[in-house]
């Protein structure tokens, strides 16, 4: 049967909007006197062209090609990530750059793409049932190998988005307990930094005591509850110890800034403070294009890459930034919504994968600029300056658009 290509125009338009708007903001922060391709905005223009060509190319590709290439692509990418860890160029303590000719690429960005593909491929296999523990392990391995390699690069921040792929596993049948426990552990982690240890232990005891009292008729739960209690207390103690001794000072400081324990606005808190100043001074309508004093006068560091949202906040105001957030939400919702309508589980799972990756970036990046999350240097997809990330995210999105355009939906 002759298939008709049905490209989702809205996703393409959203993509163009993000890239265009991102470029405007990069231009605003890095334009000085005269137009030149060697400045950030000029180079980004080149990356945008390359991304556009890549996108067209991906749309023309056959669906079967994607399925076939997942394994070799995953392996090649991970080799490159590992290579970067050992021979990569060091910037800011992390060796995540691989220099090829005059250009540097970040294999980790493509690692996300490859991981999404392989995870989708594995989970969509009709023989896979991840509710069965045995079959869950390969999925976890697919996610964890790149995480380990990236941690080897000393770039913990870039590894965090992979963790969000757990949501895909959940959607595909992983038990809800994983999320509950994960969430509890995160809350405990934050609490153990914020309040004294003995209060936490008291709190855990109280909660488990209550559960025990409620469930005391069911003998079979008893052992489980007591074990969970012990693990919780042990975790709280360990986390505290780890936080005190294993984390580097700058990491501790970043966390303390977010939790409001550290008010140093000159040192470690400088970025976040300047970022809040820039966004806060935007007001309702913003200062206007190229009129933001904080961004054009370089008060915000990394403002064309990780802190690009400051420029948006300052120059486009609440209206601009809120619209951008909502458009992002729309993009993610649309991908998930369309994925749920796919007959082919590969496309559905892949859609979930990239949604989670996009969302993780959105959440971490914007949360950081708003001073809600610690400083973790990862880009805002499609908007931040950077060739590797832009091309990688374009590949992720357009692979989905390409698959989607040729598929049958319910």
């Amino acid at each position: 049967m002759q298939k008709k290509y049905k490209i989702d125009v809205i996703l393409v338009l959203l993509f163009l909007l993000f890239v265009g708007f991102g470029w405007l903001n990069i231009f605003s922060t890095t334009y000085t006197d005269s137009f030149t391709l060697s400045a950030n905005y000029g180079r980004q223009l080149v990356w945008i062209c390359i991304s556009g060509i890549t996108a067209l190319f991906l749309i023309l590709l056959n669906s079967q090609f994607f399925r076939n290439m997942t394994v070799p692509f995953y392996i090649i990418t991970l080799v490159l990530v590992g290579l970067a860890a050992f021979v990569g160029k060091k910037t800011n303590g992390a060796s995540s750059w691989l220099m090829v000719g005059g250009f540097g690429i970040q294999p980790a960005e493509f690692g996300k793409y490859a991981t999404c593909m392989l995870l989708a491929r594995y989970l969509s296999d009709s023989k896979t049932h991840i509710a069965v523990t045995k079959q869950l392990w390969p999925a976890i391995a697919i996610i964890c190998v790149p995480i380990l390699l990236i941690i080897l690069q000393n770039d913990v921040g870039s590894a965090i988005p992979f963790v969000f792929l757990v949501l895909v596993l959940y959607r595909e049948g992983l038990t809800g307990w994983v999320l509950t426990i994960g969430f509890t552990l995160i809350v405990l982690l934050i609490l153990s930094i914020l309040i004294p240890q003995w209060i936490i232990i008291l709190l855990i005891t109280a909660v488990f005591g209550w559960i025990y009292w409620k469930q005391h008729k069911h003998r079979k739960y008893r052992a489980g509850i007591i074990t969970a209690y012990c693990i919780a207390v042990l975790y709280a103690v360990c986390v505290h110890g780890l936080y005190e001794h294993a984390l580097k000072d700058y990491q501790k400081a970043r966390i303390e800034v977010v939790l409001g324990l550290n008010h140093d606005t000159k040192g470690i808190g400088y970025n976040v403070n300047q970022s809040k100043i820039a966004i806060g001074s935007g007001g309702l309508f913003g200062q206007g294009f190229m009129k933001g004093t904080q961004t054009t006068m370089n008060f915000v560091p990394e403002q064309s890459t990780d802190f690009i949202f400051c420029t948006i906040g300052e120059e486009w105001g609440f209206i601009g930034s809120a619209i951008l957030l909502l458009l992002y939400a729309w993009l993610i919702y649309r991908i998930i919504n369309r994925s749920e309508m796919q007959r082919d589980p590969f496309i559905r799972i892949y859609g979930y994968c990239i949604s989670c990756i996009f969302f993780s970036h959105l959440m971490i990046n914007i949360g950081m600029t708003l001073g809600l999350l610690p400083v973790i240097g990862i880009p805002l997809p499609f908007i931040s300056y950077g060739g590797s990330s832009l091309i990688a995210y374009t590949c992720m999105l357009f692979t989905y658009i390409s698959l989607d355009s040729k598929a049958n939906s319910w």
Binding site: S321, L325, I332, E340, M363, L370
Partner: protein, 609 residues
């Protein structure tokens, strides 16, 4: 249908999580951008620098358009203590550039902090060219510091220091009186700089500049939309004649005293020489404080003391001119009145007010010519004892005093002379207090008729007296500024003619006496070949040492152009030193050349202490 579809409902959990995060971020954006104003303020503090734009101070010219004072630019290093977060190496660097010690640095910082932690104050004023260039390159190191351009005065003459005055930083008093001034601003402290402060200073403008993260200025905020331009100060054309002023100061070198010259037809002060003086350039620049202290502490020379306006002398015989005129107006004497003088005026049992040797008896012009003491005592006595007109001596004295004061004595001119003294014409009340009511009469106070006793006048008042005589009965308040803003916008403040309470006709015999004094009388030494002068000598008694030499005169008599008073302290009889100086001044002003270089040389090199 595959098993996985059973989990489709789980998408809502995932979407809910995403939704909560995005909603939280929207709320946070709302809070940062719309609720909390501190970020906006912090942003301004980060990137905007509010600076005053100082206008150039008005220039000062002499009456002929010769430049006396203009401006040069200099840079002050300013600091905003709150923003100055200096690490030790940076502090060391700044100390090295400015060549100050660490403790000096801390003291300056502390002083600035005391004034305000938020507002800028001067850390170091008037950096040298080298320091300025050095600092400019390294500004990025020193957050909270910036350089402020200011205009400082540049004098084109070494003369007229007191008249031009000086500018200095405002003190707390100045700032309290006028909120226009801020710490570190300059204000005219004396002379014309003080009297014409509002005209000269112009109006400060206000600029908002963009500053980047490296503390470098990056141009105007919003292209200067919110800036206000500075309004330059107005230029002044003074009444001074630069050449005459410089010539007068040259003649007076090595002597104490003053020369005041006035154009009688306008009241314009042609020169206001006081000696000892100082170079006005001493009170500009970084050494200003030290120089000022040195000048101020010099209790022997007192170079900051403006004798022309502030020194008070008994007028001596020059006052006889006033006494003669008042006597004529009162009808106590006529020009033809003759009084005997046998070496003085007998005023009581065996007492005599002495006089020098001259023919006797004399009429009025001759009495002026020879400066006879007795004649004027008789004149004064006749008026005081005129019981047809006045019931008591006191009443007569009050009438006398009123007429004397109409010549400009005993009160300020209130023109544009900074810190002028009033002199003193004693009141009847004073004599009542001193001698007791009704216990004094003409002979008790007879010495004031010849300018001795309690009478005190200033040099500028004496010059004005000659001006009145040259004008035959009126004067314009002596003043220093001809035009403000442009050369032809005349200063109309002093166009009000003041009339003296003596009728014009009575001036002729007095002038006749003064003319004779200059040709064959006491004031011969002032004579200038080819120019007809009218003058009068005086010797001010000085209880502390040798008498002061005084001479007043004007010329040419047919068309008075210049009225001069010269006082040389401790120089004895008026004719000896004050006479030739007055003559040379008039010669210089009227002919612009000196045909008597020997005399000039003798006067110039003389040292009288």
């Amino acid at each position: 249908m595959s098993e996985t579809s059973n989990y489709a409902e789980r998408r809502w959990i995932i979407l809910l999580f995403f939704g909560i995060v995005i909603a939280a971020y929207l709320l946070r954006l709302f809070q940062l951008q719309l609720l909390d104003e501190q970020w906006d303020i912090k942003a301004r503090k980060n990137a905007l620098r509010y600076v005053d734009d100082f206008p150039p101070r008005g220039l000062i010219y002499d009456r002929n358009g010769q430049l006396l004072v203009n401006n040069t630019i200099s840079y002050d290093l300013m600091v905003i203590p709150r923003q100055a977060k200096m690490e030790l190496p940076q502090q060391a660097e700044i100390c090295r550039i400015l060549n100050i010690s660490d403790s000096d640095y801390n003291a300056r910082m502390e002083k600035a902090r005391k004034y305000s932690t938020y507002a800028a104050s001067i850390f170091m004023r008037q950096l040298t060219e080298e320091q300025h260039n050095y600092m400019e390159e390294r500004m990025y190191l020193f957050s909270g510091f910036y350089m402020q351009a200011r205009t400082t005065r540049n004098y084109q003459t070494h003369a007229a220091a007191h008249t031009l005055g000086y500018i200095a930083e405002v003190n707390y008093n100045d700032m309290e009186k006028d909120p226009y001034y801020k710490m570190g601003d300059y204000i005219g402290k004396s002379g014309i700089e003080r009297s014409y402060e509002t005209e000269l200073r112009g109006k400060k403008g206000f600029k908002i500049k963009l500053v980047n993260n490296l503390n470098q200025e990056k141009g105007a905020y919003e292209n200067g939309k919110y800036d206000t331009a500075a309004i330059p100060g107005k230029d002044l054309w003074t009444t001074l004649d630069k050449d005459l002023q410089e010539y007068g100061e040259m003649l007076m070198q090595g002597k104490r005293g003053s020369i005041v010259a006035i154009e009688p037809s306008t009241g314009e002060i042609l020169c206001l020489v006081t000696s000892p003086s100082y170079d006005p350039a001493l009170l500009v620049g970084r050494e200003r404080g030290a120089n000022y202290a040195r000048l101020n502490d010099d209790s022997i020379e007192k170079p900051l003391f403006n004798r022309a306006l502030m020194a008070m002398y008994p007028p001596g015989s020059t006052f006889k001119l006033v006494q003669a005129l008042v006597g004529l107006e009162e009808g106590a004497v006529t020009p033809a009145s003759r009084f005997p003088c046998y070496a003085g005026f007998p005023y009581g049992a065996g007492h005599k007010l002495g006089c020098h040797s001259h023919p006797s008896p004399l009429n009025m012009p001759s009495a002026i010519q020879t400066s006879c003491n007795a004649w004027f005592c008789y004149d004064f006595k006749a008026m005081m004892e005129n019981r047809k007109k006045y019931k008591t001596t006191k009443e007569a004295y009050n009438a006398w005093r009123q007429k004397v004061c109409s010549f400009g004595f005993g009160a300020p001119f209130n023109s544009d002379l900074a810190y002028e003294k009033t002199g003193n014409i004693p009141t009847a009340a004073y004599y009542d207090r001193y001698y007791g009511e009704g216990r004094w009469r003409a002979t008790t106070i007879i010495s004031i008729s010849i300018g001795q006793g309690e009478i005190m006048v200033t040099p500028v008042q004496l010059a004005n007296l000659v001006s009145v005589i040259a004008n035959r009965g009126y004067y314009y308040p002596p003043h220093l500024v001809k035009a403000i803003g442009s050369r032809d916008s005349l200063n109309s403040r002093f166009a009000q003619r003041k009339t003296v309470k003596v009728q014009p006709a009575y001036f002729e015999p007095v002038i006749e006496g003064m003319k004779r004094a200059c040709t064959a009388g006491t004031a011969r030494s002032a004579a200038v070949p080819g120019i007809s002068l009218a003058g009068k000598t005086g010797t001010a008694q000085n209880p502390h040492g040798k008498d002061h030499s005084i001479l007043v005169c004007y010329g040419p008599t047919e068309n008075p152009k210049i009225a001069v008073s010269v006082i040389v302290e401790n120089a004895g009889f008026g004719a000896t030193w004050a006479g030739p100086i007055a003559g040379l001044m008039i010669e210089k002003y009227l002919t612009d050349t000196i045909k008597r270089p020997d005399l000039e040389q003798r006067i110039k090199t003389a040292v009288i202490r």
